[in-house]
């Protein structure tokens, strides 16, 4: 039985995907995280039907600049052409499918396939082939060949792409969540820029284990990251308190979510904006008033840190609070690209404000390296936990066990802030961190996975 032959949600052994997701109990079969067939379906139904994050405009700021990335499980070239537009091209020659480009990035007017020498421009047009007349004949037309080009959306310096011609626009795709994305990426006159190339490493876990952690799991911090208290980085039960003063806003239609934390009770010596957006330098903070709505400013002026964002399926932003003994506040965006059911490529960028001095940029990037990424003193433990789960869900009995995301209490925006109701859209849980918003992420996953073959 091939995947193409399957209808809707039936797997090859007759199991219905819906049986693996117990909506009533909020439980997911371990098989969801370890099954090759589900992984193959995700390639089409998740990564073929969503806007996928690939990188930042600041990585390719000049015409001719390019980087190579993965879109789902495909190699792509992300190139700025001479009109200034960003192109996302399948890194596959239109002739005999050799990879055209085999470097991580650089500057190129043209890309030459090594096999037969076909040459493409940064918009993917075939501009030259060796011995064109002899090879294609008098009637041949090279304009029928080109590198496949994906739809591209840029937003606040971020680059997204999709192969799906029928997918709604990026604006529609983010929907109400724009309110929060704007707080993170639309609040400054100049967007945050990369400090340098991203960390890239392959970890031993399913991509969904990494993604669902960033869809609202504040609960894990008090145990998994407990060493941060012991070494004085997050003193005084700080991480316990983070779980207790969290706000999750989850979008039922789109699966996007944000986790915020009220930090005012713990670090009262800082002003509200210093707590809310520590990665934005003081000189740039007046720009917030100009670019955000009063209700968005009200969130920040309550000292609420809009720090952990998840744009379905796998784009994450993370604000990094300056803890004692750490160099500076920071900001990172990251993505978890599937490689195999039990392997995920983590890409993690340090972003900095463009007006910082070189030394300040480096300190902010150091905060990323110290806390997140392969060597991050927070993320090391996350990676270890996800690898442990991956081992579990690969067992014959373990894959039959259901991972649980218990519901806590009905969402409510009422009175969750000191000065009144939560001002933003979505379903809101204020108070102790729960698994509710994570479940919204998985419900979106289920919707896409079962929406036709």
């Amino acid at each position: 039985v091939t995947i193409e032959a399957l209808s809707g949600s039936l797997l090859a052994d007759g199991t219905d995907l819906r049986e693996l997701v117990d909506v009533e109990r909020r439980a997911l079969s371990g098989r969801v995280f370890s099954d090759q067939e589900i992984f193959d379906l995700e390639r089409e139904r998740i990564f073929g039907r969503t806007w996928v994050f690939l990188g930042l405009e600041s990585e390719i700021s000049e015409p001719g600049d390019f980087v190579t990335r993965t879109l789902g499980t495909d190699a792509v070239i992300v190139a700025r052409d001479h009109s200034g537009a960003v192109n996302v091209l399948l890194n596959v020659c239109a002739h005999r499918a050799a990879q055209v480009c085999m470097v991580d990035g650089g500057k190129a007017d043209t890309f030459r396939c090594p096999y037969h020498g076909w040459v493409y421009d940064p918009a993917g047009r075939l501009v030259a082939i060796p011995a064109e007349r002899e090879f294609l004949g008098d009637t041949g037309d090279k304009s029928e060949f080109r590198l496949q080009r994906a739809r591209v959306a840029t937003y606040g310096g971020l680059i997204f792409a999709t192969w799906d011609e029928t997918l709604p626009s990026f604006e529609d795709y983010i929907g109400d969540f724009k309110w929060y994305l704007d707080v993170a990426f639309g609040s400054l006159d100049k967007p945050l820029v990369v400090a340098g190339p991203p960390q890239r490493f392959v970890t031993k876990a399913n991509w969904k284990l990494a993604s669902d952690n960033f869809a609202g799991d504040g609960y894990h911090a008090m145990t998994l990251h407990a060493s941060m208290g012991d070494i004085g980085v997050a003193p005084g039960g700080f991480l316990d308190k983070i779980a207790g003063f969290a706000f999750s806003a989850a979008m039922p239609e789109t699966g996007h979510s944000i986790t915020c934390v009220d930090l005012t009770a713990f670090v009262p010596m800082f002003g509200a904006l210093e707590l809310a957006v520590p990665w934005i330098p003081p000189d740039a903070r007046p720009q917030l008033e100009r670019n955000l709505l009063p209700e968005q400013m009200r969130l920040l002026n309550n000292g609420v840190f809009p720090g952990i964002g998840m744009l379905f399926p796998n784009f994450v932003w993370l604000g990094l609070v300056r803890f004692p003994g750490t160099p500076a506040a920071g900001f990172t965006v990251r993505t978890f690209m599937p490689v195999a059911p039990d392997r995920t490529e983590v890409w993690s960028w340090a972003l900095v404000h463009p007006d910082l001095s070189d030394e300040e940029k480096r300190q902010s990037a150091q905060m990323h390296t110290l806390t997140f990424g392969a060597s991050g003193i927070f993320e090391q433990d996350d990676l270890a936990a996800w690898a442990r789960i991956q081992t579990s869900v690969s067992g014959g009995q373990g894959r039959r066990q259901y991972l649980r995301y218990p519901s806590s209490r009905p969402p409510s925006p009422s009175g969750v802030l000191p000065d009144g109701d939560w001002p933003g859209p979505g379903d809101i849980w204020g108070g102790f961190s729960t698994d509710d918003s994570i479940w919204y992420w998985h419900m979106k996953w289920l919707e896409l996975m079962t929406a036709g073959g």
């Binding site: 390019f66 470097v103 650089g106 030459r112 990369v194 970890t203 407990a226 980085v233 150091q366």
Partner: protein, 164 residues
Amino acid sequence: MEFLELEAELLDGARFKEWLDLLARDISYRMPVRTDRGDGMGLPLTEEEAGFSGSGFFDEDWGSLDLRIRRSTDSRFNWAEQPRSRTRRFVTNVRVQRLPAGELRATSNLLLVRSRWRDPGLDLISAQRNDRLRTTAEGGLLLADREILVDQTNLAATDLAIFL
């Protein structure tokens, strides 16, 4: 050479505090992200080594290395190293050059083999290390600067809860 062997022994033996004693207080310890760059037509562009931006797997000073080490020594919750991985460092091709003011430039190849619990697979990390060593008043050596040039651009390692 002896310094590098001692250092490998201390790290392989998880004697991290003793390793920290071999580091100068003003150490810079960096492991940049490696990338292959090209012009699209097959010509390689040089990696931009100058002006390290802090975009790496490590960009540490003595204090941040101490923080990392205290996860093992001061906490029961260093989950990334539970159980502690066994590491074996193979240091070869050591070249030493004298610098002014009693300092030494040492370059070496490092092959780090890491084994965890009962996983039959091994993490293998190979790198060139460019070190600057300083002679102390007592005649010993301190590591004052280390650049770790790892060979993989896409690192195959569950995590980097270790030192190179």
